[in-house]
């Protein structure tokens, strides 16, 4: 159809131009009748042509307008010719021609329009120019008849077309309706699911509360290390599980439209404090640097949803830590005052793996993770980002991401919060340090006189609660429902009551109200705390309104519980916890008793264990001692001999004192108290220049000192001779000896020891073995010169 359109267009345009040109020339050069008509019409042709050429008529152009324009020019042409030839007949004939030409468009709508247009134009023309003559009228009638016939002829096609399009439209309408219905169904299904999940929040959180709470009790009370380790793993996994569930519940809340932004007053420094503390632990574990750059002029109290803001920041920072193998993470917060509000600009930058351009969109998709191949080892559901962006959208903000793949990313967002207190927050880093210090000095307390009532229909919840409070030694009573609780509160005055909200028969709120109304009740003024697993926004207000003084959300955080008790319990009920309490001791570093030391006269292993952290080290020290026994003794003996020769030898006395002092320290280290004691006396004698004592006691001391070698030999097993390897390659030994010499010169303990072990594994000649034995002592002492000389000697004797 469009081809005909094009043909018609080209044909008529060319036509118009030529004829128009001719007509204009004629008009100019010849005396023609009605020049007032001719000229305008001629101009129409030329201008029309120019317009049509200038405007590119393609499928998108208003087709009908163009057709009419063409037709107008056609008619103008026809009219001019007729005037030129002074022939009406010619005029009408040409009109018919024009009418027929309309059908070239083969588009029923176009044809119809054109015919209508032509009729109107010609009527006007006829009335204006042509005398209304009989021929004229007949001509008109003929024209209309032809047009009409053609019209009718094509009417059915026209109708069919119309029908088809009507049918098309009908089926299109039907389809649209079907789509609408399906969409409604699907969105209802999603809503129903989300609704379901939101309601399940309570059901899901309760058992997790039980797991976490009971596990905390296991960690605290267990005395077996292996069980404690299992419990720690359970704790980690449960916390991960809880955070995953929270994510899923959040996203379903968002999707079912139930997520609300609850604005309330909050303190900016505490919010940032919590966030930074949480992230700095994770960053430190991974060896990443956390840089905090917060403007000091930010206002300290604002109005907003601090819970959700914290969630957003922690989400983004967690991601930053997760996807940054090494380097740093920077949290930058800047702010501007806008009247009574503050515009806070948050930016979180990292030096992590980055995001590719093409992956940017996937970033915000729920459940999809980017660069799976590379990042598949990183945990996570992929929900975090989606929750974050949704929360930001609810706060009229959005997340901006800049990233360079392989180098890092920066996440930015802006929040506008009303200011409550303009006082600047000051140096955050200092505050964090101070609060850390404050926290570590918090004293643990116990309150054996305090009476507490806990009301919860769930057995395990009550058990967990009691377990969490056990270290505080409170008197805890329980009730499994409102009725029992009321029976208790009527008779006993409690210092604090914990009421679960969701209970069958009588819920927490009703129980509270009844409690307050009890005539004989002793607890009308008692501090009551609500326990709830369904922490939605506005909870605090709701509970306060219902008459509670406070609320705790499950799973219950032991620290928060203790803080609350600390705040609420009156001072007279609180006592300082004893430092030596059972739990304290259990938590302090436990000595590992892994080696069974043989009973050796003169060695107190228990004392050694008090000084050294583990048995392995004790063994190391003993071995070292064993190998240096002779060296030390020889040196001391030399000094002793000098003093025998000359009592005035000050240098010898000084060296003696220093050496015996060292020998005292060493023997003390692994619990050889008798010899240490003797060395001490000798040291003081040297200090006091009591040469008599030195001269008489030293030989005896040296004998006992050297005797330790034999005593410790059993413990410092040298290995059977049969284990030793024959020397096949001398060069290998030489290489090792050289390496050993280098190692000791550099004080490289591990390398030196390793090489000594290797050398000890060889079967050498007696001479070399003896040298090796001496070498061991020198290695123990880091005596580089001796190691070097012994080493060279050994090599020469190989």
């Amino acid at each position: 159809m469009n081809n005909y359109f094009k043909v018609a267009k080209y044909y008529s345009v060319l036509n118009h131009f030529i004829v128009g040109l001719i007509a204009t020339i004629f008009t100019y050069f010849w005396q023609v009748p009605h020049p007032e008509i001719m000229l305008p019409f001629g101009c129409i042709w030329i201008i029309g042509y120019v317009i049509l050429r200038a405007v590119k008529a393609d499928e998108k152009a208003p087709k009908y307008l163009f057709c009419i324009l063409y037709d107008a020019i056609y008619l103008a042409q026809v009219a001019t010719i007729s005037v030129l030839f002074q022939s009406d007949t010619l005029f009408y004939g040409l009109c018919v021609l024009v009418g027929v030409q309309s059908f070239l468009y083969f588009d029923k709508v176009v044809i119809y329009i054109l015919l209508a247009f032509q009729m109107v134009a010609l009527s006007i023309y006829a009335m204006l120019v042509v005398h209304p003559s009989i021929i004229g009228i007949i001509g008109f009638v003929v024209f209309f008849l032809i047009a009409g016939w053609l019209f009718v002829r094509y009417l059915d096609i026209f109708e069919k077309q119309a029908n088809i399009s009507k049918n098309h439209r009908q089926s299109l309408d039907d389809m649209l309706q079907l789509v609408d219905e399906k969409y409604e169904e699907a969105s209802q299904a999603t809503k129903a699911k989300s609704q379901f999940l939101a309601n399940m929040s309570h059901e899901i959180r309760t058992p997790i509360n039980a797991i976490l709470g009971l596990n905390t009790m296991i960690m605290r009370e267990s005395e077996e290390d292996s069980i404690k380790t299992y419990a720690q793993d359970i704790d980690g996994s449960s916390k991960t599980l809880l955070s995953l569930i929270n994510d899923i519940l959040d996203i379903s809340k968002i999707e079912s439209g139930k997520m609300e932004i609850i604005e309330q007053k909050y303190r900016l420094p505490s919010l940032l404090n919590d966030v930074i503390n949480m992230i700095s632990i994770k960053a430190e574990d991974k060896g990443l640097a956390l840089q905090v750059d917060v403007e000091e002029t930010l206002p300290s109290e604002l109005i907003g949803d601090d819970v959700r803001i914290k969630q957003i920041l922690i989400n983004i920072l967690n991601n930053a830590v997760k996807y940054t193998p090494k380097g740093s993470i920077t949290l930058q917060i800047a702010g501007e005052c806008e009247g009574s509000s503050a515009r806070l600009k948050f930016a979180i930058a990292d030096t992590g793996v980055g995001i590719k351009e093409e992956d940017m969109d996937k970033l915000f998709d729920s459940f999809s993770r980017i660069d799976e191949k590379r990042n598949h080892q990183i945990e996570g559901t992929g929900l975090g980002m989606s929750i974050t962006t949704n929360l930001l959208a609810l706060m009229n903000s959005e997340l901006e991401v800049d990233s360079v793949y392989g180098e890092g990313s920066t996440f930015r967002f802006t929040l506008v919060q009303k200011i409550v207190n303009e006082a600047p927050i000051g140096d955050l880093k200092k505050r964090i340090k101070e609060s850390k210090e404050k926290y570590t000095y918090k004293e643990k307390f116990i309150a054996p006189q305090a009476k507490v009532l806990v009301v919860d229909d769930n057995d395990i919840n009550r058990q967990v609660f009691k377990g969490l409070l056990r270290p505080l030694q409170l008197q805890i009573e329980e009730a499994d429902g409102g009725a029992k609780a009321l029976a208790l509160t009527e008779n006993t005055k409690y210092d604090l009551i914990f009421l679960d909200h969701m209970m069958p028969e009588m819920d927490g709120i009703e129980t509270l109200q009844r409690m307050r109304q009890q005539e004989e009740g002793k607890n009308q003024e008692t501090y009551v705390v609500a326990l709830t697993a369904n922490a939605i926004g506005g909870a605090k207000e709701m509970y306060l309104e219902a008459g509670f003084q406070n609320y705790l959300s499950k799973p219950i955080d032991a620290a928060k519980l203790e803080d609350l008790l600390d705040e609420v319990l009156p001072a007279e009920l609180k006592q300082k916890a004893q430092a030596g309490s059972k739990t304290e001791q259990a938590q302090s570093e436990k000595q590992e008793e892994t080696i069974e030391f043989p009973l050796i006269e003169g060695v107190d292993w228990a004392a050694a264990r008090l000084h050294l952290p583990d048995d392995e080290m004790i063994l190391e020290i003993v071995k070292a001692f064993y190998y240096t026994v002779d060296d030390e003794a020889d040196y001391l003996e030399t000094m002793y001999q000098r003093l025998v020769t000359s009592q005035m030898d000050e240098e010898a006395l000084s060296s003696y004192r220093i050496k015996v002092h060292a020998m005292k320290s060493t023997s003390y280290m692994f619990g050889a108290f008798p010899i240490a004691g003797m060395a001490a006396t000798l040291e003081f004698a040297a200090r006091d220049e009591d040469l008599d004592y030195i001269l008489t006691t030293t030989p005896y001391f040296l004998v006992r000192w050297r005797a330790y070698k034999e005593k410790l030999k059993a413990l410092v097993a040298d290995g059977d001779a049969s284990d030793k390897v024959e020397v096949t390659d001398k060069q290998e030994i030489v290489q090792k000896v050289h390496a050993l010499q280098e190692a000791i010169e550099a004080f490289d303990m591990h390398a030196g020891d390793a090489l000594m072990e290797e050398l000890k594994g060889y079967a050498f000649s007696e001479e070399v073995e003896a040298l090796l034995e001496e070498m061991a002592g020198a290695v123990m002492n880091f005596d580089a010169d001796k190691v070097r000389s012994l080493g060279d000697e050994m090599i020469s004797k190989l």
Binding site: M617, T628, I658, A662, M669, A746, F747, M780, N781
Partner: protein
Amino acid sequence: MGENILIVASNSKSFTTVALISALEAGEVQARAVSATKEDFATIDKLPPICIVNGGGFDNDGAMAQLIRLRDMCLDQRTKVMFVATDIDEMDTFNRTFAQELVIEKLIRPIVPAEVAELTKAHLDKLEQMKDRKSVLVVDDSGMVLRSMMTLLEKEYNVSLANSATTALAAISKHSPDLVLLDYEMPVISGAKLLEMIRAEESMRDLPVFFLTSKGDPETVKSVLGLKPEGYLLKTTPSNEILKMIRQFFEK
């Protein structure tokens, strides 16, 4: 030069070298190879954290000179070195040329490039971790004290040892420790004397020093404090306490 590994070989296009480079890059470690005998090594002045010396062909004087130059640069820049020697003789040469404290790995061919790459990566990671650690120098004439302190502290800190005033001063300039534990009673130059020397030296004046002493009487304690050490530790204190005090010191 963003790479973490430099491979120095007599021929930088040798099979082992090329295989090593591709194995390292597969493990996302950037590596570059230079030939010890050519100009490209002579112009290098900045070394990455780990250098792999790929042996073979180092038996001529020119290569040996370059090797010595490499050793000096490693000592200056604290670069660690891994040897891949062709045979025991060459390993011995390497051992003799390089100070042992720089050497973290000694391998003799044939090697499996992928395994070596993994080993290298592990070392790189460890070096990264260790970079951020504080370093402590322990000075005591008793080898046993040195050993026990090393065992106690090495898990949390980079520990260096010295057993006399001379070795202590050398260690201070080499390792730039963040804290020095100094024995009071030492032969020849006592701990007190050494501290005097340290305080007299411009570059070491502010070095924090803890005295290790087993003397409990007030006289010694007073004289010790006069030299402005950060404090003193009795050698008789149980080791957890010592560790705690050092930790506390660094937290300040």
